[in-house]
Amino acid sequence: MSDSTHDDHDTKPTGLKRWLFTTNHKDIGTLYLVTSLIMFFVGGSMAMMIRLELFQPGLQFIDPQFFNSLVTVHALVMVFGAVMPAFVGLANWMIPMMIGAPDMALPRLNNWSFWLLPFAFTLLILTFFLPGGAPAGGWTLYPPLVLQTGDSFPFLVFAVHLLGASSIMGAINIIVTIMNMRAPGMTLMKMPMFVWTWLITAYLLIAVMPVLAGAVTMLLTDRFFGTSFFNAAGGGDPVLFQHVFWFFGHPEVYIMILPSFGVISQIVPAFSRKPLFGFSSMVYATASIAFLSFIVWAHHMFTTGMPIAGQLYFMLGTMLIAIPTGVKIFNWLATMWKGELTFETPMLFAIGFILMFAIGGFSGLMMAIVPVDYQYHDTYFIVAHFHYTLVPGSVFALMGAAYYWLPKWTGYYYNEKIGQWHFWTSAVFVNVLFFPQHFLGLAGMPRRIPDYPTQFADFNMVSSIGGFLFGASQLLFVWAVISSVKGKQKAPAKAWEGAEGLEWTLPSPAPYHSFNTPPKVD
């Protein structure tokens, strides 16, 4: 059989076909990363409109229905379009290199899991132009409100189906790659932390994305085919949706944070020039968090009503998560302790992550307490909480990962000065943006409203100013990426002095196929 049946190891197809038909993990990783950056700015511009409307009390710029649509689609785009695909992009680029494989285990499936995304987002964004506007019931899609969505309702459901299918395929590929493609000698407990966290994340994805698909399918049949899953008149219950949704939704939040833990566990040792303080405790902590994530979902629903025993159970179960999370935080701190620290951009983002993710973690602990949650539920306090975990949490980890591995991807260092500016502006303005929202929430400002009493005016204005400046700061990231792509300063194979791992044994930029023959791992 001729060579044309598979890629020769050093050649790559050219032009558009390379990107449309590719089976290469680096090409697909790049597609994921670029897509997620675009979606980050799409979702970000929605956030800018939200903060613009909230700059002052009163209705100034957009009507309330459109405001609700912006809130809903901003969340869907950021969760499914920015954060999740960015981590899958990192997994694609890095996992084969880190475990000594040539590529992902199922390369064509890999292509498909990416090429579902543009179609899913076309379906979702299209809804802005349909009668009745884009979905406006919040990203949690609670019935009966979501059932009042206009023509965009089936588009929303099918977009979620496509996104779920894409995630499941991507996750299957990642698990199979890790379990089957490791180089000889790369035992499980020798795998880099980033690979470990992704292995566990992929398991979460396969377990919960089908449940979300089931939940939205029930919404679809309730709306169009007369079923009564969420209709009390027929013996169903709207609260059932909340249970099914959060059975997906709670593991989902760990899907967005566990790979961040992996990234931080790569960066901190590299710039502390010390190995990770406790590798196996980190693995067990990750697995514990993943396990606990399946059995605490109803802490999202304390105010919807449940028996007191249920409330106690979900409160205590949720608090348990603080233990493995604390193990992680102290692990990173102990890694830095007495290390030879330097503060290049990836390290700054990692330290920023540790500090500010902890703030998000603590506010989560506050809301785990049932009587306290009654006060905080659906206020700006919860908005502040999950934005602390997701923005200076997941997004900072993603930024740190990009700075850390850009020299490996492009072969050139990014402009360090721009990176430093990007970090410091982001770190300052993200706090100006989200910290006042804690006060707004504690004072009783509800989330998801376009207008508010004048008593909330000052903090909202501060938050909006922080928001605009944080948004503008992210343009520096684009500049930094371009500075690496069009780079001046060549990066050696081992781009960072203290970096460890198989990916740093490959030249920079990494060859098209990572390892043609398995490397030996001692």
Partner: protein, 288 residues
């Protein structure tokens, strides 16, 4: 070119994934505008479905040719096996969502509507005179009075049929491993014929339910859980039986070796999965 076992195999690029995405996109746009009342919805849906079928044919033909051409080494085989296993796990979780809805409705939602736990006033003020029972179509009697399908008629027969099909499939698998091709194709044919008989009975039951028992999807929470659980199961049986037909045709063409037949095993796993789901359906939907 056959690959030595110590080097890696990377398949070449392919347009099939993108074609599949376009097909799914067509299906979803078509279904959406149809549900919104557009007349061209069914047409768009059909075009999308045709593209998807084209993709399925094309992609599988490509993979089958590569496999029969000896391109897949044992590492690729292991990747396929693991991938199929995790795919079936994702299917299990999909059904878990609907079983969860069933258990929640029976164990919590319906009793609460009837005043259980601390819901005395819910029952007293909102749904007065509603007594929690199962089956139920809810306090508003949605869809009107209905009867259910008992377990010991056709459902029990269907259970026997699916369990038998699991046995015939296993006999076929052993025959494949021993190289007895005649027994292989005979028992494989028996398996999918049993699958189609099962589907015939299910179709008959659905018609019976709709026309004579007034049991429909609109029959409250019972009808909702009954038709979505058995409906998605029936869809999976149809897909599984179709896959059985495909590997049967491949067997007739001399595909598969005693030690190299991933596709056969993947379909067999899928069939057993569908079988196990049915057992849960029989117990929790029809029987208890």
């Amino acid at each position: 070119m056959a690959h030595a076992d110590n080097s890696y195999y990377i398949p070449h690029g392919s347009h099939w994934p993108l074609t599949g995405s376009i097909g799914l996109f067509g299906i979803m746009i078509g279904a959406s505008i149809w549900l919104n009342g557009s007349g061209i919805g069914p047409l768009v849906l059909s075009i999308g479905f045709a593209v998807l079928l084209f993709m399925i044919f094309g992609w599988f033909r490509l993979v089958i040719n590569e496999s029969e051409g000896g391109q897949y080494n044992s590492e690729v085989d292991t990747s396929f096996r693991m991938g199929m296993g995790w795919f079936i796990f994702s299917e299990v979780m999909f059904f878990a969502a609907f079983f969860g809805a069933l258990f929640y409705a029976r164990g919590i939602a319906v009793p609460w509507l009837g005043g259980d736990s601390n819901n005395f006033f819910t029952n007293e003020l909102l749904w007065n005179n509603f007594t929690a029972t199962w089956p139920t179509n809810g306090p508003d009697d949605l869809g009107g009075k209905f009867e259910t399908l008992g377990p010991w008629g056709i459902p029990a027969l269907n259970t026997a049929i699916l369990l038998t099909s699991g046995i015939t499939l296993t006999i076929a698998h052993h025959a494949l491993q021993k190289g007895s091709r005649g027994i292989l194709s005979m028992f494989l044919a028996a398996t999918f014929i049993l699958g189609f008989i099962f589907m015939g009975f299910q179709a008959y039951e659905y018609i019976h339910a709709y026309q004579e028992l007034n049991l429909t999807m609109e029959s409250g929470i019972y009808g909702s859980t009954f038709f979505l659980l058995t409906g998605f199961h029936g869809l999976h049986v149809t897909i599984g039986a179709t896959m059985l037909v495909v590997i049967w045709l491949r067997c007739l063409r001399g595909h598969f070796k005693p030690d190299h037949h991933f596709a056969f095993e993947a379909v067999a796993w899928y069939w057993h999965f569908v079988d196990v789901v049915w057992l849960f359906l029989f117990i929790f939907v029809y029987w208890l």
